[in-house]
Symmetry: C2
Subunit: 218 residues, 2 copies
């Protein structure tokens, strides 16, 4: 399965359309060049201090070309969110029927790790540093994750899971993913994202396993 | 313990200051009147369509008085966030040393439910409906919850809990709180928030308890 999540979306379809409409000259790998130029500048100057004009200049292209591929400079970092969501939702819906809710989530997250993120570790690291350095981007990331959690709860309900189990598994699963992703991007070792996900899932089991007497302790 | 979380903060200190500075006439319960007027208008017209001038007029006060109590019209809904955070953090830090991470979180959430939220159910319901109807407010709520989760992870680390257990317990605990809070505000029965929290904590145990073989299933 080939799903483009982050930046280097297949350019063919878009470019052919643009070319057919005659609104621009064909530029080889324009999207990739713009994306790489943007990431360089976000790292060097910060996200807020970078303009689309500067990104286009660094890529040797025009602002108009930039806006053919990205709605704004934030989309360089968040362009793949809906594809990731579709991938995760269809993985949860299609996971073996025997899997309990949290395991269906774990299954989907591990599939995304292997098929989408693993080969983009360098990009993921850079992106994490850029997003982490900017309050507005951190907020956008939270909204993305909350939207993912809501979509995963819906996918679990499609599997017949009732509420609140569906939302609890989805929200906690996204918490696991967030923490595993942060550990993966900040790690200098060779451990794969899917291993961090498995470790965090196991750790969640450990921290939630205690007797719940405390909930009545107030 | 008396902690003001949402809207009806003790007015005495502020009002005395204002009076001493001679910048305004003393108005009985000005903060409470402004808050109630704001909530009425948000419900009637929506948050976006309500102006501070209209809130002040409905309360029989001036815009200037409004801005003595609230930085903006959003603060009517989010004014108590930092007090809630302080309450939860100190509850986690002060929870019995014997409690495992997730139970220390459950302890703090139950304390907040009983001591802060229970007597404000009507306000909480209205607030939930207003926040749920507005994308910007929903985002602000997510940011508030993420900030709470980060603070609770810090409180667990103060208790000697290592990472990633601290962040996993804190993030999952906030997921439990969010879902329990939504169930409580949308319920028409008499069940208390602390009971919804306990049920959701137990449910989280159930959904995470399965064997984690699925995490390697991708």
């Amino acid at each position: 399965m080939s799903v483009t999540v982050i930046m280097v979306a297949p350019m063919t379809a878009t470019v052919i359309t643009v070319y057919d409409l005659g609104v621009g000259r064909w530029e080889p790998d324009a999207r990739g060049r713009l994306g790489r130029a943007a990431m360089e500048l976000y790292r060097e100057r910060g996200f807020d201090s970078t303009t689309v004009a500067e990104i286009a200049e660094r890529a040797g292209l025009t602002e108009r070309t930039f806006f053919r591929y990205f709605a704004d400079k934030r989309e360089v970092l968040f362009g793949g969110s809906s594809e990731l969501q579709e991938f995760l939702v269809s993985s949860v819906v299609g996971a073996p029927a025997s899997l309990p809710p949290m395991e269906a989530i774990a299954w989907a997250l591990s599939a995304a790790a292997t098929e989408i993120f693993e080969e983009r570790r360098e990009f993921a690291r850079e992106r994490q540093a850029i997003v982490g350095a900017n309050a507005e981007l951190r907020e956008r990331e939270l909204i993305k994750l909350a939207t993912l959690a809501a979509a995963l709860a819906g996918a679990l309900r499609e599997r017949g899971v009732s509420e609140p189990a569906a939302s609890l598994a989805a929200e906690s699963g996204i918490a696991v993913f967030k923490i595993a992703f942060e550990r993966w991007t900040s790690s200098t070792g060779e451990e794969q994202l899917s291993e961090f996900i498995r470790e965090s899932m196991d750790e969640l089991k450990v921290v939630t396993a205690g007797p719940m007497a405390a909930a009545s302790g107030a």
